[in-house]
């Protein structure tokens, strides 16, 4: 609260005020919430209190009660779900009465509130070793069942595609499989294209369980850039001093979009419509404490004038951050990699000649000496550690025509093997 006061007293220039405001909205949601509470006493606290009980104080979810993580899910998506509970297209004994009891504008406020929260995620909470079947469905799909891979729409790593496609990474497995079953049985029907109905209907109970386990093991993304959060702009309820700038800017973009549906980039190119969305502070993900957040705040999105829509590059930067964290670092142990290869369990040497590994010196695939000096993996992928690790785990997923089968390496194993292969000198090739 005192931070807010400082802003309203010291930020006299409009651009500076806007910058500080944007920072606040992203990094300091609870401060914002408190601010709003001040303005309309009795409304927001009560409304959010209704959520906190099950979804946690920051919307981080509670697996004991089967309440999903909602922090950082887009406002559009969250509002749609609340509306769906209210209109019966999504059924739940707990959520229906709550949603029905909330006036539409309060639903929108709640949605906007949780959309901005970067809540902590306990990586140890998810399953350690999710079933392989879950990973296959998530990134490959199933031809026989006519099920496309989840990541076609929900993005690599399940990070979603805000505003309309939710993230599914880091969702509680019990909740997730419950929802897939709801699609399947028809108690959830709020999907205009019926894609989810069709997909879930094709999945068996075991498949549903496996895919839910898989996504529960992945970290959820951080909140999408402020500009993608398309709920009714909460800014209009801010203190008068700060509202005018941000609120009116946002309003100006609304009419065109409202009529034509999702103009996510409409009007970026207007004159003077330059805007910079800088990188979020490093390490901000894990800092959920309010004071830490506000310290980090000055580095968050800054908007100069014109429009709030992001540049594509920025959206990508923001959106893919969790994907990068999902990618394996090359922290493998060459000795363990050699041991895995030498064990013969995965049959690597049946096709490849690998220096340091005895027999059978197969010639089906290329010899692996001097891999680090090669330009490409499998003749077409860039030879980078992360790519090699991903390729080893599932070669046909990256190079569909490759003759190299998926031998069922875990990421750990692939990392160790990659480390060993990169340790081989070019001389080993001969």
């Amino acid at each position: 609260m005192c931070f807010l006061k400082i802003i309203s007293h010291s930020a006299n220039s409009a651009p500076l005020r806007l910058i500080l405001l944007s920072c606040l909205v992203v990094a300091c949601p609870r401060a914002l919430h408190a601010q709003r509470a001040n303005e309309s006493p009795g409304q927001m606290p009560a409304a959010v209190q209704a959520c906190v009980g099950c979804h946690g104080k920051d919307g981080e979810g509670n697996s004991n009660s089967g309440s999903p993580r909602i922090a950082g899910q887009s406002a559009y998506y969250l509002l749609k779900q609340l509306d769906s509970y209210a209109n019966g297209s999504r059924r739940d004994r707990v959520m229906e009465p709550i949603a029905k009891g909330l006036p539409p504008e309060i639903r929108a406020d709640i949605a906007a509130h949780y959309a901005t929260i970067d809540a902590p995620f306990d990586e140890r909470a998810g399953p350690r070793r999710p079933p392989e079947r879950g990973r296959v469905l998530a990134i490959e799909g199933d031809n026989r069942l006519g099920v496309p891979a989840c990541r076609n729409c929900h993005g690599p790593g399940g990070v979603g595609e805000p505003p309309n496609i939710p993230y599914i990474a880091g969702l509680d497995a019990g909740y997730h499989s419950g929802e897939l079953s709801a699609w399947k049985t028809g108690t959830r029907t709020n999907d205009a294209g019926q894609q989810m109905f069709r997909i879930a209907a094709a999945l068996s109970t075991e498949d549903i369980h496996a895919v839910a386990q898989y996504y529960a093991s992945l970290p959820p993304p951080r909140p999408a850039p402020l500009n993608l959060l398309q709920a009714p702009p909460p800014q209009k309820k801010l203190a008068p001093g700060t509202t005018a700038v941000a609120g009116s800017e946002d309003q100006r973009q609304e009419p065109a979009g409202a009529e034509q549906g999702a103009p996510m980039r409409g009007g970026t190119q207007g004159k003077g419509a330059t805007e910079e969305v800088k990188d979020k502070p490093a390490g901000g993900t894990k800092d959920s404490g309010g004071s830490d957040g506000s310290k980090a705040a000055p580095k968050t999105p800054t908007t100069s004038s014109g429009t709030n829509w992001p540049r594509l590059s920025d959206a990508a930067k923001e959106g893919t951050a969790p994907v990068l964290s999902d990618q394996p670092a090359l922290a493998g142990d060459p000795a363990r990699g050699r041991a895995i290869l030498a064990s013969g369990i995965h049959g690597c040497a049946a096709c490849h000649t690998i220096p340091g590994i005895r027999s059978p010196k197969g010639i089906v695939g290329p010899p692996l000496g001097g891999v680090r000096a090669r330009g490409f993996i499998a003749g077409q992928l860039p030879n980078r550690p992360d790519v090699l690790v991903a390729f080893l785990q599932n070669p046909p997923a990256l190079v569909p025509q490759t003759g190299m089968p998926n031998v069922g390496l875990t990421r750990e194993q692939a990392r160790h093997i990659a480390a060993y292969l990169y340790s081989l000198g070019t001389n080993d090739a001969r």
């Binding site: 891979a149 894609q195 997923a397 569909p400």
Partner: protein, 589 residues
């Protein structure tokens, strides 16, 4: 020396749309069938999955799903006086390869040709007189009627699950559909896709001018659909990656989604991929095909014997295969004799654009390959040509298939083609521009044809197909008229600027226009002017059936796939109910 393999009942040359349909029908009739596919086996999972499938550079720019023209291409020239040169990069049209064929990368635009398209010669003579047809224009009748094909159109559309709105059910015209279409027996299997904003603007403008707007019939489905074969398709997600791409969502009707899973599980069917057919073998009498010779994936030459051969290897390749196999007399334009390669036709496209101010957001990325609103008031002979001096026409529609970042950069005339100003113009106009398709017909002429190139050979040492083509005067006039009509509609669409010019000569093989190559093995009632009879059976070698857009004597205003599918079912029906009972010519010469 070719190795000989065990004889089978029937061979499919090419396993795309035609191969999949014929394979299914022939195995059902009890035949043992081998499908020879020159390309790779590929399936929705894992081959078409995201995010790789949305690699625009790989698939749209570098055309990863197309025929490998380092091994096999066509040569091209404008007139018989020119020397043809090989096409080293696909641009004007994009023949596919691999399991599922070109239908894997199609847009899903699904139209029936109209009856006057099938009777174009006699209809034109009856309505306008013989003199109305310009000299050297060699249009002719197909030998079938729309009424005969209706059950097969119906069956094919229900196989695909096409999303559309009927305009004529059993003779009753239905506003909101294509009221010019011939009677169909029932409604489309699924309702039309959602209408995009730009298309809604077009609808308003077209209806304001008194035209009959209707939704583009689409094979990117509007809702889940289970076809009569028991296969289920998903709803399209409007990702905008249809044409040149394969669908990752099981939402586009392709052989992979509507037939192949059943066919590949059928013990009577065997798929052999990586098999390049060199020629069909014909016995000494010249009247019976004995099988085919192909090179398998390991480079071995194989002779495979069969009593029935189905050629379904894409229009142009069908013609080449007959020429290489010496089935039917090659066409010679100088003497106007011979039939194989005759009446090659194309389509005559133009693309006016409407540039809006920044208050109108078109969102071109939110599309499917067959999603929009169109009119058929100027298609085929749906309007009076009496004073116009040309035959044929165009459908006109706001059917933007995509807004992909590399390919879609609308800029108004006068914009520099590179540099800062160009970039600024792209940013300014990307989301505020509508493109209107003027999808025009193509007449056949004496001088547009296909034959074997005397110079250039493919990777197997066989002559390439030579294409001789330029736009006929008739079609230049047609394009001028229909493009003008489109610009008039564009002006009613509220844009700040409408641009567009009709198609002009010379034909530019380096600019994408359409993959609707037709003719070369045309169907008809007269063996002196057609390669196959009305059942698509070779006049010369009756156990060879040639099926595809190569059967079209000339090309209509509409996209060809629906008509190819109907012809495939029509021919399959004749084979199963007539030919197999008594093998031999189904029609007398």
């Amino acid at each position: 020396m070719a190795t000989t393999r065990a004889e089978v009942d029937a061979i499919l040359i090419g396993v795309g749309l035609v191969g999949a349909i014929l394979g299914r029908e022939l195995t059902r009739a009890g035949l043992r069938v081998v499908g020879l596919e020159r390309g790779a086996p590929r399936h929705t999972v894992p081959d078409f999955q995201g995010p790789q499938m949305h690699d625009e550079l790989r698939y749209a720019t570098r055309k990863a799903l197309m025929q490998d023209n380092t091994r096999e291409t066509y040569t091209f020239r404008h007139t018989i006086k020119d020397t043809a040169l090989p096409i080293r990069r696909w641009a004007s049209f994009l023949p596919g390869t691999g399991l599922g064929g070109s239908m894997v990368h199609w847009n899903g635009q699904t139209f029936r040709f109209q009856d006057h398209d099938f009777q174009q010669y006699s209809h034109t003579v009856a309505r306008y007189g013989k003199k109305f047809i310009q000299p050297d224009v060699t249009i002719q009748d197909w030998g079938v009627t729309a009424a005969e094909l209706e059950p097969h159109f119906d069956r094919f559309e229900y196989l695909l699950g096409t999303s559309g709105k009927a305009g004529n059910i059993k003779g009753k015209k239905i506003p909101g559909g294509n009221i010019f279409e011939d009677p169909r027996s029932r409604e489309y299997p699924t309702p039309p896709q959602k209408e995009p904003y730009g298309s809604a603007i077009f609808r308003k403008a077209a209806e304001g001018l008194g035209y009959h707007a209707y939704p583009q019939p689409s094979c990117n489905l509007s809702q889940p659909y289970t076809n009569p074969e028991g296969l289920t398709l998903n709803t399209c997600t409007f990702c905008g990656y249809c044409e040149r791409f394969a669908c990752e969502h099981f939402a586009k009707s392709t052989p992979q989604t509507v037939l192949l899973p059943l066919l590949l599980n059928d013990s009577k069917f065997e798929l052999r991929t990586g098999c390049q057919v060199l020629h069909i073998n014909v016995d000494n009498s010249g009247k019976t095909a004995t099988g085919v010779t192909y090179v398998d994936a390991s480079g071995k030459e194989i002779e495979l014997r069969a009593s029935l051969i189905i050629v379904g290897a894409y229009a142009t390749n069908n013609a080449r295969l007959l020429l290489l196999s010496k089935i039917g007399a090659p066409y010679d334009p100088e003497t106007n004799k011979g039939v194989v390669g005759r009446n090659y036709a194309y389509q005559t496209m133009s693309y006016p654009q409407v540039f809006y101010d920044e208050s109108i957001n078109i969102n071109p990325f939110m599309r499917s390959g067959a999603n929009g609103t169109m009119i058929a008031d100027f298609a085929g002979d749906n309007f009076d040509h009496g004073s116009l001096g040309f035959i044929g026409g165009a459908y006109i529609g706001e059917i933007m298939t995509n807004g992909r970042p590399i390919g879609f950069h609308p800029t108004p005339p006068g914009t520099p083609s590179w540099g800062v100003k160009w970039k600024q113009a792209v940013v300014r106009h990307y989301n505020h521009t509508s493109t209107i398709n003027v999808h025009g017909s193509s007449v056949a002429t004496r001088w547009n044809y296909l034959d074997l190139d005397p110079t250039y050979k493919d990777a197997w040492g066989l002559p390439l197909l030579r294409m001789t083509f330029d736009f006929p005067e008739n079609d230049i006039r047609m394009s001028a008229y229909c493009t003008q009509k489109t610009i008039e509609i564009g002006k009613q669409m509220g844009g700040k600027l409408v641009t567009g010019s009709p198609r002009k000569r010379p034909y530019d093989i380096t600019e994408y226009q359409t993959t609707h190559n037709t003719g070369g093995t045309i169907m008809g009632a007269d063996p002196s002017t057609s390669v196959v009879n009305r059942y698509l059976q070779s006049w010369d070698v009756p156990n060879v059936f040639v099926i595809g857009a190569s059967n079209f004597p000339q090309n209509a205003s509409y996209n060809p796939t629906d008509t190819v599918g109907a012809l495939a079912y029509w021919s399959a029906d004749a084979i199963v109910t007539k030919y197999l009972k008594s093998p031999g010519p189904l029609m007398n010469k």
